[in-house]
Amino acid sequence: MAGTAVLGRLTWRVADVVDVRAETPRARTLVLDVPGWAGHRAGQHVDLRLTAEDGYQAQRSYSIASAPDGTRIELTVVRVEDGEVSPYLTGEIGPGDRIELRGPVGGYFVWEPAHGGPLLLVGGGSGLAPLMAMVRLRAAVGSPAETRLLVSSRSEEDVLYRAELGRLAGGGLTVVHTLTASRPAGWSGYARRVDADMLAEVGPGPAARPHAFVCGPTPFVEAVAEALVALGHEPQRIRTERFGPTGG
């Protein structure tokens, strides 16, 4: 049964921030070392708990973007301008700081190499993070699963992991980009919101019965999942994870 491996209590642990990497002008990756971490599955998330001097606390969820790697995990946080937690995580926190977390959480939005392919991964904004864990795991174990990754970003400077995705592409992994708010000179990818035509071109089609994973803000996930169903993909093979607000 999915998830039985994480049976038992999810206790709060103290993680050390060992490194911080700028990904884009609005996003940073936190590299954490979590003593006692027992590993995770690609697609799972952690809950962070932040505590102010006066005891006030806030919790937020962040997907693990890295493939399993001992006691290290990486989280990629995109700053939400008026947010309570993400500006702190993309600004203030740094190496040497400590932060509380618990996890890994979630047993459904998960890919394991044994599930095989083909895979259709569609990520919007920070929704790329859990899909990146899958792509990195696929590469780390040498999985041959045929994988199409469609990445939707606002503008070219907002594209996460671009260089790494460029290196990973090939050998059964196709990476396709679309930009929703600009089209720079010389841009050869798509420049519109993800729609059914784009998904049909990116493939694999419903006949190949791909495992589809869709992650991002709610309106993005709604639109992509509906388009996949309209194209004939089986709803049971479409897994979604929604990060953000509805906007009203």
Partner: protein
Amino acid sequence: MSIITRGFRGRREAASADRVPPGQYVTRDFPVLSAGPTPHTPLDRWDFSIDGEVDEPRRWTWEEFRALPSEEVTRDIHCVTKWTKLDTVWRGVSVDTLLDGVETSADHVVQYSDGGYTTNLPLEDLLDGKAWIAFEYEGEPLEPAHGGPARVLVPHLYFWKSAKWVRGLRLLDHDEPGFWEVNGYHHYGDPWREQRYWGD
């Protein structure tokens, strides 16, 4: 206990602290949590059932269901993904109305939905004015993304215990974990005791 997060101040909502369970924050948005695509069942193919350990199964078409007495309820709702929304206004049929006259030995219930979603809870958490099958939100027909045409509303538990796109209640004499419950989430889900995950 907790360590201080250096330099973190947070942005507390001064008001209504007694209405916000531990680890939750107030949002004015209405975020969505679902594991897959949103189903769209036409109303002429929609029905609602009470089945399982009952003397006789019950079934209502959409028209029959809408002809039942309904109530407007204003409640705070709490999602396990950390948001709390205050004073949400719903219209729905009380589960007491649907179970009126049903004879059962059951003490557990599985809510089941279009798309295959299920969630479990003790029967008593659905009784005595604690739960509704809601079909309106803020005076409008419930949108599909939020569970329309009808969803369960059990506001005293985390909101995944309020199944969207609900099609029936199965009364059982044993506990049967539902979709999120087999995927690491708590069997009961009381936000005031912060029962998010297994073992909480």
